[in-house]
Symmetry: C2
Subunit: 344 residues, 2 copies
């Protein structure tokens, strides 16, 4: 790797001059030297050493994308289409802005804090399902943070946090409220709620479900109604098989993700229970599987790409000094009617 110092000496100028040319501070340098240096830089394919630059400027040009997931143990989380698509959106926004994306996955707040400070990361995007962990990180990090789908309560945030932050989310509770209302309007009364756990977004969505059922005067399933407690994609099939028994006591099931909806449909079909003839299903996300499922899924669409783009945009404006009072950005959702719900 060729260095500024080498260039300076072979060109008979100082490192300062070379550096100035590199950074376009050309009004402080004579046109001839500018040309001379520029030509030579191109000739030798000069590439700055970013470590040295970061050291001198006390920054990193790295945006850390941190995934802190509940019970992340040996599961390939990228099998989750939601996570994958989000990462993809983040990557493109980050590199478009001239930053670099470093991915870090851990469910241990201390490890995350460690990572952040070693690399002197300029900002982080955190996808943290566990509020406590997210809070702990934000207490120890003085630079900008964007949370995605992390429902740390507002007061606690502002009280305990050193850094500016924003939280990007969708109107989870309201979206589910409307979805359940939709089912009710179609004549359903016995409606189940299917989630993978009761943390983060799922908790909020459960509230929406509860409220809709309450408002209609129907009996809601309790927190243990239908939960597919499995983070292992390889054993999901058996998990869902067991759920079919519970599910068939209802006329409709709201599912917290399209993935779980499709898994449930498949398990049901294997037992001869047909969707939507015997039971109606509604999903969440509107990912590729929703369109390809048979029947095609009626589901709630959220714009994952937008989520990622907004996250990076907010982060960058914080990095660039636009002061933020900590805020929540709430994105909309939309019910997409397809073929998995029928009137009864």
């Amino acid at each position: 790797m060729i260095t500024i110092k080498e260039i300076a000496s072979t060109l008979g100028v100082s490192t300062t001059t070379v550096s100035n040319v590199i950074h376009g501070k050309t009004k402080e340098v004579s046109p001839q030297t500018v040309e001379k240096v520029k030509d030579y830089l191109r000739e030798v394919h000069y590439v700055p050493n970013i470590n040295a630059r970061n050291l001198a400027q006390n920054r990193s040009k790295i945006i850390g994308v941190v995934l802190m997931l509940y019970a992340y143990n040996d599961v390939n989380i990228f099998k989750d289409p939601f996570v994958s698509e989000l990462i993809g959106a983040l990557e493109s926004s980050i590199s478009d802005a001239g930053y670099f994306m470093m991915l870090y996955i851990s469910d241990d707040a201390d490890q995350v804090i460690n990572y952040i400070s070693t690399w002197n990361v300029d900002g982080i995007v955190m996808f943290a399902i566990n509020d406590e962990a997210g809070l702990k990180v934000s207490r120890h990090y003085k630079k900008p943070i964007v949370f995605i789908d992390s429902y740390v309560e507002n007061e606690r945030k502002s009280r305990n946090t050193k850094a500016p932050f924003v939280n990007i989310a969708i109107n989870d509770e309201e979206a589910v409220y409307e979805a359940v209302q939709y089912l009710i309007s179609r004549g359903h009364k016995k409606i189940a709620f299917l989630s993978r756990n009761m943390m983060g977004t799922d908790k909020l969505r459960y509230r929406g479900y509860l409220r809709a059922m309450d408002d209609a005067g129907f009996k809601a399933g309790d927190e243990d109604a239908i939960i597919a407690r499995s983070n292992n994609y390889d054993e999901t099939e058996s998990v869902y098989e067991k759920l079919t028994g519970k599910a068939s006591r209802y006329t409709a099931v709201f599912c917290c993700s399209d993935t779980s909806a499709v898994l449930l449909i498949n398990a049901l079909e294997k037992k001869g229970i047909h969707v939507p003839e015997d039971i109606s299903i509604i999903g969440f996300d509107d990912n590729a599987a929703a369109q390809l499922s048979r029947p095609a899924l009626t589901t709630i669409r959220q714009d994952i790409n937008l989520k990622g783009k907004k996250a990076v945009k907010s982060l960058l404006s914080m990095i660039n000094g636009t002061v933020f009072t900590s805020q929540n950005i709430v994105l909309g959702t939309k019910l997409i009617e397809r073929g998995s719900v029928r009137d009864i």
Copy 2:
């Protein structure tokens, strides 16, 4: 951020001593000082500045994961389950080894070379569908490279390359040969080949298809037989719709991915053409969609997780100085019989 220098001065020792303790070179330090320093390090939560460390040691602890994809323009490549799962496998192997993963996506070899040298990345894993681009990078990079599914021909590689490298792949040609033979053994004679393009693995797979058809004395589709030329996941549906016409002239279709198989099945079903009654379909990968598809997909299973793990393992042993003569590692595949193929 607290520095070694500060620690040294408040403790009344030299930076060397602190550094030695940090690196466990304790036999050169008295037990008391070791304890004193260790305690203090813990107390102040010392975290090394990795930029400074890298600068001093001329390394980075970064493994670059580089995605160079044919016609990558504004497409969220993470929607491809193959890519996502691979990234996930790479991430966990990399962080297990104490390295950090930096993701870089570009189809421009010069940009990639630039990226690699600015960050002084210790090694790269390249998923490059375009041979030329991969070659160009390897010519300019003197550190270890692992290619995944990049079928740069061997001779050219060893002649033009400065760095040690390994290529990790599966027996694409053979796998498809067997799959087509399987279709033939089930009575099929008019068999089509469906791919997204004719680059990289698809090219090899096409060879396997051709050979199997030739050996059986059947007429193969030409290179333009059935190709779903679309990298945009949002317009795929219409692309596949157009393909149904071609496809229905065959009794079986070999598809280069489960994703394309499922898309095709859906498009066919919409036109009232049933799988496997009217036409048999065979996929590739055995991802989640294969099991959930109806009918469940008969497909060729490859172990993506293993691919990722082997890639990182090879890379690390190169980084750690185990000298490699450039080599190919070929992983096996397995035909999984499900319900999308019938006898005729």
